[in-house]
């Protein structure tokens, strides 16, 4: 199925998404990588709010190339980064801030999948490296936070997007995880190749 969603995305819509669905988003996408996750969670633990509301919007694992022309920031390139690095705290982030869609590449693990199930969130994969395809969907840079402190790749960029995609839902809120399924198949094939090599005499 193909879906064109608008942020804030209600949980009922997110629950409808299934692994393998194609998704395009219009609305708000906020970049956050390792350090932004850590900083936001740190604030949350201390009872303080981050400078922007992550609720119902998309969190994009992305460290973009940005350019400032006059007072205006523009996006040069903004593809996804490897999401697996965020696996160690993504579940806490989902619980604390209740974003709608986590966007990244390379997939995520059991902890994130469990949080998606529990809180009605999904993970969708944007093609890795397709930074200009992603930039095309970003219509405006609304805000930037923590730029001085964290630097261009790690800070929070708040984008207004239009039909941002295509993305593939690889973790839905029903316990499915495409990356994990493929990984299990790859491991099984690796074992059989290893056995072939072990048994061969040449």
């Amino acid at each position: 199925m193909e879906y064109h969603l608008k942020t804030p995305v209600p949980e009922s819509q997110l629950r409808r998404l299934k692994m393998g669905d194609l998704v395009y988003v219009t609305g708000t996408v906020i970049t956050a990588r390792d350090e932004a996750h850590l900083k936001a969670l740190d604030l949350h633990e201390r009872g303080e709010a981050p400078p922007v509301d992550f609720g119902g919007v998309c969190i994009f694992h992305c460290g973009p190339i940005m350019r400032k022309e006059g007072d205006e920031w523009t996006v040069v390139a903004a593809g996804p980064t490897t999401s697996a690095r965020m696996e160690i705290f993504q579940d806490n982030f989902i619980e604390a801030f209740r974003p709608a869609i986590i966007i990244g590449k390379g997939g995520m693990g059991d902890r994130t999948a469990a949080a998606c199930g529990k809180f009605g969130c999904v993970y969708s994969a944007f093609t890795g490296g397709a930074a200009l395809l992603a930039a095309r969907g970003i219509k405006r840079v609304r805000d930037v936070f923590w730029l001085e402190e964290l630097g261009m790749p790690e800070c929070l960029w708040v984008y207004e997007v239009e039909d941002f995609g295509p993305m593939i839902v690889t973790i839905d809120s029903h316990g499915n995880n495409m990356t994990k399924d493929v990984k299990d198949q790859v491991t099984a094939r690796m074992k059989s190749i290893m056995e072939e090599l072990r048994d061969r005499h040449d």
Partner: protein
């Protein structure tokens, strides 16, 4: 700054721009073939997105990926080329300029003070310079910016020599399987065998730069390259690790002698965006650029 120094700096900036914005045709064609041979919609969409993105990059002269990598230059310096140690500073300046002009993402992080902002790093180690001495009066420069995702899935192991080729092959297959979806497949796989704990990694990185589809000139090694390329594709990681389409487009092995007690193996993996560009500069400042894969 002398005229020749300026020519070398301008050339290095241009090489970084080409590397970041123009994917070699050979790689594009290989992915197009991969797309033609892929039946699943998920795999086809990933390869289609990559190809479309690559064309936007070429037409708009923008970086194809936001991760423009840590900058490395391979330098082959002719005996009679007039510039010597000054070259290092020239390449550092070229890196700063390319960061502003292309632009490249600042990717040099100091563990204490954070991102340096100009892709120039701690104590002169970044950009990474590999310098070879060669006969002649020219210089050959290769710019190779490499992204973090596929760099993170590199693998290194000091095998027991008794494991022999069987052990080497198993380690390489294991390394690619472990890379899985993380380094933006379809991959290019570079392997270095022998030479000690460090050289095997350097050889593996250099192996990525051998022209596309050209097997090792030693037929015994070439046979193993073909076997391993076929085997890693049987893993079925697929484009972006979603299980459809090619896992690896090419696999090269470079070899060095090893210590009798050591069997070092390095595996360096590149994402689909294997970015590099090469040029020669003569002592008179004549530049020839080579964009082939």
């Amino acid at each position: 700054m002398t005229r020749l120094e300026k020519v070398v700096e301008d050339t290095a900036v241009e090489l970084l721009r080409i590397a970041a914005t123009e994917l070699p045709r050979e790689y594009v064609e290989a992915m197009q073939r991969g797309l033609d041979e892929t039946e699943g919609a998920v795999g086809r969409s990933q390869l289609g997105n990559i190809l479309e993105n690559v064309e936007i990059a070429r037409e708009s002269s923008k970086p194809m990926c936001q991760d423009t990598g840590v900058v490395a230059f391979m330098v082959r310096l002719g005996d009679e080329f007039p510039l010597r140690s000054d070259l290092k500073q020239i390449l550092v300046e070229a890196t700063r300029r390319a960061t502003r002009e292309v632009p490249l993402r600042p990717n040099a992080v100091d563990m204490f003070s954070g991102n340096t902002g100009d892709n120039v790093g701690l104590k002169g180690h970044v950009p990474i310079l590999y310098i070879d001495l060669i006969p002649g009066d020219g210089i050959e420069l290769t710019a190779m910016p490499k992204g973090g995702g596929s760099t993170n899935v590199a693998a290194h192991r000091m095998l027991k020599p008794g494991l022999g080729w069987k052990g080497v092959k198993q380690f390489i297959i294991e390394a690619v399987a472990n890379a899985g979806s993380l380094g933006c497949p379809p991959y290019f796989v570079g392997v270095g065998i022998g030479g000690g704990e460090d050289l095997c990694m350097t050889l593996a990185k250099r192996a990525l730069l051998r022209p596309f589809g050209v097997w090792n000139e030693d037929q015994r090694v070439a046979k193993i390259e073909r076997e391993l390329l076929q085997k890693v594709n049987r893993l079925g990681i697929g484009a972006m690790g979603l299980g459809e389409g090619p896992t690896a487009l090419d696999l090269h092995i470079e070899m060095a002698a090893r210590h009798p007690a050591s069997l070092p193996v390095g595996v360096v993996i590149s994402c689909w965006a294997l970015r590099h560009a090469r040029a020669t500069v003569s002592r008179d400042g004549v530049v020839e650029i080579d964009k082939s894969g």
